[in-house]
């Protein structure tokens, strides 16, 4: 029997979701909607009595005070004496027309609510077979079918993962429960006598994206074996050899303007680390995350991942599996770490982009933005991990290919940082069940997107189940504590294929695929092997611990299944119900990929040099930059993230007298009761990359480090992560930029003494719209993590009290290239900011020293918008005005323009606040670096700046400046 239960908000209570939906509909320009109400639908299948149904509704599904409900019985009839009801919506709904749009997840797409409802029914002492949920929107107003379609597709649903039903009643989604049996059939692929074209065709038709050379290597291997490969063997090779998993570009051979580079990564980013050879680096570039020392008992691990392509197609699911994935990286670092902090950095198209400029098959940036933010919110918050650091960057070129960086910091016991599987260990799979979700994610993320992507790769898109991951985390930390396993890794891209392939690389492994617990029947053995179903981890367990570890997971309601063994024969052996479906050597899998030489060239581009007329007043320019997408307040986003759970928060993302100023970096105490802390910051500015990726890289490192210094940290123990998101590196110019950026990383990290400990690259971030290809700007995210001995030494960026002196530290040069000042005038320019290796490190060291002595009340680093924006932010965050004099700003020879001093984005500069009594001590402490006392904090609410020639060049109310900064991102 099937029952359809429709739950709706009573007339006299606000339907907040309905109202929100209505306002979003009006935002997409459909004005004829009078009202929208949301009805939550549950379809329950099972043998239930009338009383049972009433209890399920009354005690579980419905809030008796604010909600009402009706039941409708399915085709298969209903118990005697109950009438199928009808929604009573009262007078209010006497409109001429009420349309309905019902949205439900497609079969096989994760919907955590289903299992929760089943649990609730079980707790009631009842039982049901299956549950499906849907959202039904009652749309009042005169609307055409086209308009309803538009509302469905632009606001309510994403057809990649959801089915939509317009003006249909009493839906029961026929066929939802049919069981598709899988008839085993060992698939072999005919590649032995295939020519190049056929090889490529096989690779493409299977969405494996292997190149001809790679397919040839496979053919050679199997020809030697004298047999055809099975589908799952070829899939495994494709997964393992994908750019996403193997980083073939970074680790391959590059011909850079004739210069031979063998393994760019080893020669730049990783080289800086080995040359610096810091004793506090515990584990670098080998595990899921890099590990550095923290205190006597613990180390800290840090990893940032990209999850770009899935987020382009299904923003909510893409972002939420992105954060879920990087949290599993932490869980799978060493023998397991406790996740303590999330950081998220996004790149989108401008949110006000006109619809007609959006390419076919692309979601509007605002839709992507909202989806990504709620995806991160719902996963991070449910996991109970604070999201306390991040950034959002906007550029039209991200419209078709947004970037989503998700990072996680973990706390790991000192004796749990190393792991190794032993011969005879059992392979334990824990967590979520396996379904068709996420098939070909690894290969998909290694190619460019097209307007066809959603059709071809819809399967790569998934929705996460944060509570499952939370349960896995709880159980894992118990098993870790009891030392029940020898090795662990997460199931990420490539699913079991990558996880088992990686763990078994040295030993070899055998897996019985039919043992893997499935969400539903009908999966083939290869689908089981490559599925990227979320919330799964793989452990290597000594046989003696079998029962104990299974009990630990089952005690937390987590499925744990032994699926195979690490053998010691150095082969990957897959079976399905006893039949061998794969049997290849690990060494071929991991070292068999042919290395190809890629061409790279790079030439300094020449952009138009703007000729901007000098002005008497730069107040408007300041406000324009403050309100620009990249600089404006991100409070709307930040407040939706729980940034304080776990109680460690020391510096929150929003600071100042009204808790709404832009903090430079976040700071947490991972261990309550101790004052030892961790600072996390990030630096990124793709606009500089349009001029020279080398200086983009060094500026990004400088920015991340400036933020560390600004909150009271020092360069003593700072580690970096690199995350490259690039265009198609098959194009020599694009690859050349990657070489430039990597060298910028090497030089600058070496100079500052800040090693890289981990990183990631995401290439081929291009979008093909018809005949034109839009590549993202070369985008390098630098994340920094600093261990701070005493968090009570922290400072924040908001000015503290009137009368205090304001200093500028560091030299201002004519470096407006890629600046927001030029950007707001429609130019890029050429004079990109560089890092001055004569003085930069000394500047940071002395400033850190002064902070350590308690000589600084507030400090804010100069980035987008230069000194003007930095000082203005400090001023309105603290609630006091400022009087500043540009003539006192230390500048390089020959700078005579006020706009350069105000808005230049030269690196390694800070604006700091010092109390008058400490002036001489402070100046003594920073002796030897350039500084200028440019003014003071004042009681009233004016932000006044004098020009180089002593005229008033800015005179604005701080309330107006703050309003400009806050108004942009209020959605």
């Amino acid at each position: 029997m099937e029952i359809r239960i429709e739950v709706f908000i009573k007339e006299n209570f606000p339907d907040v979701i309905g109202n929100e939906t209505a306002s979003e509909v009006s935002h997409i320009g459909i004005a004829s909607v009078d009202e929208i109400r949301m009805v939550q639908v549950y379809l329950i299948e099972g043998d239930l009595s009338e009383d049972g149904i009433k209890r399920i509704c009354g005690e579980l599904l419905v809030d008796g005070l604010t909600q009402d409900y009706i039941c409708i019985y399915g085709p298969s009839g209903q118990p005697d004496g109950i009438q199928a009801g009808k929604i009573e919506l009262g007078k209010k709904w006497q409109y001429n027309s009420v349309h309905t749009i019902e949205v439900t997840r497609k079969r096989g797409v994760m919907d955590p609510v289903e299992s929760t409802v089943l649990k609730g029914i079980k707790d009631l002492g009842l039982s049901a077979g299956s549950v499906k949920t849907a959202k039904r929107f009652l749309v009042a107003g005169q609307l055409t079918t086209d308009q309803l379609e538009t509302i469905a597709n632009k606001v309510l649903a994403n057809k990649i993962i959801e089915d939509v039903f317009i003006d249909k009643d009493n839906l029961f989604y026929e066929g939802k429960n049919e069981i598709v049996d899988y008839a085993f059939h060992r698939q072999e692929l005919d590649i032995l006598d295939a020519d190049d074209e056929q090889l490529l065709a096989i690779s493409e038709s299977g969405q494996m994206y292997l190149t001809v050379q790679e397919m040839k290597a496979v053919r050679k291997y199997f020809t030697a074996l004298g047999r055809k490969p099975t589908d799952v063997e070829l899939e495994t090779v494709a997964q393992t050899w994908s750019e996403h998993c193997m980083h073939k570009t970074f680790k391959g051979i590059i011909d850079y303007n004739g210069e031979h580079i063998d393994n760019l990564l080893a020669n730049t980013v990783m080289k800086a680390t080995s040359e610096l050879d810091k004793p506090w680096c515990v584990s670098v570039f080998k595990d899921n995350a890099g590990i550095i020392e923290f205190d006597e008992d613990y180390n800290i691990c840090f990893k940032v991942e990209t999850h770009n392509h899935p987020s382009a197609i299904e923003p909510y699911g893409g972002a939420n599996t992105g954060i879920g994935g990087v949290i599993r990286d932490t869980l799978g670092t060493g023998l397991g770490a406790k996740p303590i902090l999330n950081t998220d950095v996004f790149c989108f198209g401008p949110l006000d982009m006109p619809q007609e400029k959006i390419p076919e098959g692309v979601l509007h940036p605002k839709r992507i933005f909202k989806g990504v933010v709620s995806g991160v919110r719902d996963y991070g918050n449910r996991m109970g991990i604070p999201t306390a650091n991040g950034a959002i960057f906007f550029d039209e070129r991200y419209t078709g290919n947004p970037l989503v960086y998700c990072g996680n910091v973990g706390l790991i016991a000192k004796d749990k940082c190393e792991k190794e599987s032993h011969k005879g260990d059992l392979i334990l799979l824990v967590g979520g069940r396996t379904g068709r979700d996420g098939i070909h994610g690894a290969t998909f993320s290694s190619v460019e997107l097209t307007h066809q992507s959603e059709v071809v790769s819809g399967g790569a898109v998934q929705i996460g189940d944060p509570i499952m991951e939370r349960k896995v985390t709880d159980a894992l930390l118990i098993a870790l504590d009891r030392g029940l396993y020898n090795n662990i890794t997460d199931c990420g891209a490539g699913g079991l294929s990558s996880a088992v392939g990686e763990m078994g690389e040295k030993l070899g492994a055998v897996v019985d695929l039919e043992k893997v617990p499935l969400k539903y029947d009908g999966l083939s053995y290869s689908e089981i092997w490559i599925s990227e179903a979320q919330e799964r981890m793989v452990l290597s367990v000594p046989p003696k611990n079998m029962d104990e570890i299974r009990a630990v997971f089952e005690g937390e309601d987590v499925t744990a299944t032994f699926i195979g063994e690490f053998t010691g024969d150095k082969r990957l052996h897959l079976r399905y119900k006893g039949e061998t479906v794969a049997d290849i050597e690990m060494v071929f899998l991991h070292d068999g990929v042919p290395r190809t030489t890629r061409k790279a060239t790079w030439h300094l581009p020449s952009h138009e040099e703007p000729d901007i007329k000098e002005k008497m007043d730069y107040g408007e320019d300041l406000k324009r930059i403050l309100s620009s997408w990249n600089v404006c307040s991100k409070e709307w986003v930040i407040r939706q993230y729980d940034h304080e759970v776990q109680g460690g928060s020391v510096l929150k993302p929003l600071v100042g007298v009204n808790n709404d100023g832009p903090g430079d970096a976040c700071k947490v105490r991972p261990v309550l009761g101790s004052n030892k802390g961790v600072i996390v910051s990030n630096g990124m500015n793709p606009k500089y990359g349009d001029i020279d990726p080398y200086h983009m890289a060094s500026s990004a490192i400088d920015e991340a480090l400036r933020q560390v210094i600004s909150v009271g940290g020092s360069l003593e123990e700072v580690a970096l992560l690199d995350n490259f998101s690039w265009g198609n590196t098959g194009k020599p110019e694009c690859l050349g930029g990657l070489v430039r950026a990597s060298r910028g990383c090497y030089d600058t990290a070496l100079y500052y003494g800040t090693p890289f400990i981990s990183g990631k690259d995401s290439l081929n971030n291009e979008f093909k719209a018809g005949d034109r290809t839009i590549a993202i700007p070369p985008t390098l995210l630098i994340s920094a993590i600093c261990v701070m001995p005493d968090v009570t030494r922290a400072i924040s960026m908001d000015v503290k009290s009137p009368g205090n002196l304001i200093y500028v530290i560091g030299i201002t040069k004519n470096e407006l290239g890629g600046s927001h000042y030029y950007y707001t005038h429609g130019f890029i320019g050429n004079s990109v900011p560089k890092v001055d290796i004569e003085i930069a490190k000394r500047t940071m060291d002395l400033l850190a020293n002064a902070t350590g002595k308690g000589l600084i009340r507030s400090c804010h680093d100069c980035s987008e918008g230069g000194i003007a924006v930095t000082a203005a932010e400090m001023s309105f965050a603290g609630g006091y005005g400022m009087e500043l004099d540009l003539a006192q700003v230390p500048v390089e020879e020959g700078i005579v323009r006020d706009d350069i001093v105000l808005f230049s984005e030269s690196n390694t500069r800070f604006v700091v606040e010092v109390e008058q009594p400490q002036q001489s001590e402070f100046e003594a402490a920073i002796k030897g670096i350039s500084y200028g006392c440019i003014g003071k904090v004042i009681e009233n609410d004016m932000f006044n700046v004098l020009s180089l020639s002593g005229e008033k060049v800015i005179s604005e109310k701080i309330s107006d400046l703050k309003e400009a900064w806050q108004a942009t991102l209020k959605l």
């Binding site: 005690e59 609730g120 996991m383 109680g647 808790n659």
Partner: protein, 272 residues
């Protein structure tokens, strides 16, 4: 799990299940307040009868139990009501204390333990329910700091005329009653423990009242004052460095939130 302790500290137990995620900081707060703390998974509580008896304080911490699917706290509330209600009632009858914070408050409300235990039986059937916690007016999860003023001296967890600064972090915290009379009744019986106020202590609208709660209600207790439920997170303001403006206003001796836990511990020390 409950094991015999040789010290005579008051004993608190924090209930754990899928999605409770504030256990760590809540344990820290209780221990700092002088309690001896254990964590217990709901599966153990259901499986073994009598596990609560050695404890004096039963804590439902913050989080998203079972994902807050269906409604915040609803599924755990249903489970506790169905499977351990007798044990909880005995705990209450023994004069012991229960506190639910954020999601824990949602659970207590949705199982009918708050605002009035006596109403439990009637409120079991959902349609007799007279109070609930609904979606924030903003329809958003929000993390922000709020000022709380105590509105009665009924709760043993709260000092008279207390004024505290603590964060909220929730999407479904709007206190809603069937009608205004119900709120007034609650007020008369002294069961409104905390109200959201502005920094000067006056009743005020958003964002001071972050979710649109009627009567600015942030926390309520039962008629005995021994069961407290509140949306804000006192366990997130135990140490001075947790205050959002300590870099401006200086480090205090301790955070405002500790008082709630200390009062509970002191009450037990006196009563047992």
């Amino acid at each position: 799990m409950a094991v015999e302790k040789n010290n005579n500290k008051p004993r608190a137990v924090i209930l754990r299940t899928a999605g409770t995620n504030c256990a760590y900081e809540t344990q820290y707060a209780l221990e700092k307040a002088g309690a001896d703390v254990d964590l217990m998974h709901v599966n153990q509580l259901v499986k073994v009868k009598g596990l609560l008896s050695p404890y004096h304080i039963f804590v439902l911490p913050g989080g998203f139990t079972y994902g807050d699917d269906i409604a915040a706290g609803k599924v755990l509330a249903n489970q506790l009501r169905q499977q351990v209600l007798d044990e909880l009632m005995r705990f209450i009858d023994d004069g012991k204390l229960i506190i639910g914070i954020c999601n824990g408050f949602q659970v207590l409300m949705k199982m009918g333990l708050l605002p009035e235990v006596k109403g439990l039986q009637t409120s079991l059937a959902g349609d007799k329910q007279r109070f609930t916690l609904a979606y924030n007016d903003s329809n958003k999860f929000e993390d922000r700091w709020v000022y709380l003023k105590s509105a009665s001296n009924r709760s043993v967890f709260v000092d008279n005329d207390s004024f505290m600064y603590v964060p909220i972090a929730h999407a479904e915290g709007k206190f809603v009653a069937e009608n205004q009379e119900e709120i007034e009744k609650l007020d008369k019986s002294g069961q409104i423990v905390f109200k959201y106020v502005d920094k000067d202590g006056n009743m005020s609208g958003y964002p001071w009242n972050p979710n649109g709660s009627s009567g600015n209600i942030a926390g309520v207790c039962d008629s005995t004052g021994r069961i407290l439920g509140m949306m804000p997170h006192p366990e997130r303001h135990i140490d001075p460095t947790q205050h959002p403006r300590w870099t401006r206003e200086g480090l205090k001796a301790e955070g405002d939130g500790i008082a709630i836990f200390r009062n509970a511990v002191n009450y037990i020390s006196r009563a047992f």
